[in-house]
Amino acid sequence: MSSSESAVEHALDTSFFQRWLTAAAESVQREAARLTELDSAIGDADHGTNMQRGFAAVTEALEKEPPGSPGAALILAGRQLISKVGGASGPLYGTLLRRAGKALGDAAEVTPQQLADALRAGVDAVAQLGGAAPGDKTMLDALFPAVEALGGDTASFTAAGEAADKGALATVPMLARKGRASYLGERSVGHQDPGATSSALIVAALAEAVR
């Protein structure tokens, strides 16, 4: 298949991004209690509540002011997360989506490869803002493998979801070096990172949005 055929077949329009963000919101809502439970082990037991509040605002905003492009959808969602989530997660997830949205510009449709590149830019921005690296037991441990797995077709979305999930699971034996869990030192070992877990949910929602 030539790249132009592939681009047509796999073109992602604004409605794809709305479906992705809505699926992510539903997933966060469904898993909120588990996220909070994970956070109570190594954090302060509010990650599920905060993410739920943020993504509820995202869903509401998408309905109230429907975005005109994929980039606008991500920027809108990012702004809502920054305004509603609080904690470190708000600015970090907000930056992820805003930076990715900016990278997409105002194109009406984008290719999976463009989405992959935009998300990589977003993940790099998260790493810079939080000062964390892979292996620090943070959301990056799910996000980096996910953007590695993303490629030129929508089939790679499923692979990205699996890679993110595997990355989140791999945080269990890690020693936290950033955020509140870092205060635990050795006691952070043996628990899955809540931020990596919510990141995996958001990445997994990509495949759900493919029609």
Partner: protein
């Protein structure tokens, strides 16, 4: 766990409504979560804004008023506020002399205040920031998020607030705030865990016969757990932990701070022991404050904060202050 609340979802808003009803000298925007001095913007004065997760009251809303903060931005329980709150607060209190953000060193607070500073600067407001990181229980290394901001926040807000009230320009208020933080160290202990309304029960387990040495104000773990100790033993441990890191040449301000569920009777008994240890270590005490100021919901326990002061800082500490949580000289 029984709590004096309606529902968990409204605890912050309910408390803000109560603050508004009880303190007409404050303007409380319950919906947008901003507490502002009623007389703001105060002419010719640098404005101080702080904020952080709720659950540490009277910090920060209880420290808004003449001689201390101009505005406070309470987040959800133990969750940092969002940038919109600080931007709104900055717009309400700035009179062109600039704004100082007092930020406790937690990843969430730092990120949200950083974003707020950028947004406020976009609106033409001059913003300086001071980071409070006084908790010696956390080793200050690249393997952690750095030292946590705890009791020294009160010293920073009071002393820098007094400097601002005197008319000091932003650079000087910022420099004083940094100096107070650099001269302050804290150490806390927990005798029982705290319970967040959202969880409805303890956020961590602490066996009945043990205490957590070096606890943070969200119940974060510290250095070690031991079998329960006496007030005398705890004071020895806590004060020495602080003095290992801060060797004062000058007299110190002492904050003997309750975590929320420890009675004044116990806090004063603990204050006696803290004074005893300081005497044995030949550290002179300039002033002492005892009470619940930087709390952790219903946690039992206490923290000790020492701040080494020269005459200038001591004069600013003694200057009048009129807030819901701290009030003297006026």
């Amino acid at each position: 766990m029984k709590m004096l609340i309606n529902v968990a979802e409204t605890v912050v808003a309910d408390a803000l409504r109560g603050l508004a009803a009880s303190h007409p000298e404050l303007t409380v925007d319950v919906e947008n979560r901003v507490v502002v001095r009623r007389d703001a913007p105060v002419p010719d004065k640098v404005a101080l804004i702080s904020g952080g997760g709720s659950g540490h009251e009277p910090l920060h809303g209880g420290f808004v008023g003449a001689g201390m903060l101009d505005a406070a931005c309470p987040g959800e329980v133990f969750t940092s506020p969002v940038p919109d709150q600080m931007v709104r607060a900055a717009a309400a209190v700035d009179n062109g002399k600039g704004v100082l953000f007092v930020v406790k060193n937690y990843t969430g607070d730092v990120l949200n205040f950083d974003m707020a500073a950028e947004l406020a600067e976009d609106e033409g407001i001059q913003v300086a920031k001071v980071l409070v990181d006084d908790d010696v229980a956390v080793s200050d290394s690249t393997h952690t998020a750095g030292r946590r901001g705890t009791g020294a926040t009160l010293f920073v807000e009071k002393i820098a607030g007094a400097a601002a009230e005197e008319g000091a320009p932003l650079e000087r208020v910022e420099a004083i705030a940094r100096r107070v933080n650099a001269c302050s160290r804290s150490f806390g202990v927990a005798l029982s865990p705290c319970s967040t309304p959202a969880k409805g029960g303890p956020t961590f387990e602490l066996p009945a016969g043990e205490l957590e040495l070096g606890v943070g104000i969200h119940g974060e773990p510290g250095r070690e757990r031991r079998a329960m100790m006496t007030s005398r033993e705890i004071a020895d441990y806590a004060v020495d932990a602080v003095l290992d890191d801060l060797r004062p040449d000058n007299p110190v301000l002492v904050l003997v701070n309750g975590m929320g569920a420890t009675p004044q009777l116990e806090l004063y008994g603990f204050a006696a022991e803290v004074h005893r240890v300081l005497g044995e270590r030949r550290v002179a005490v300039a002033r002492t404050l005892v009470g619940n100021y930087v709390t952790s919901l219903d946690m039992a326990g206490a923290s000790v904060t020492l701040c080494q002061v020269d005459e200038d800082l001591l004069r600013l500490w003694d200057a009048p202050v009129r807030t819901a949580g701290l009030r003297w000289g006026c």
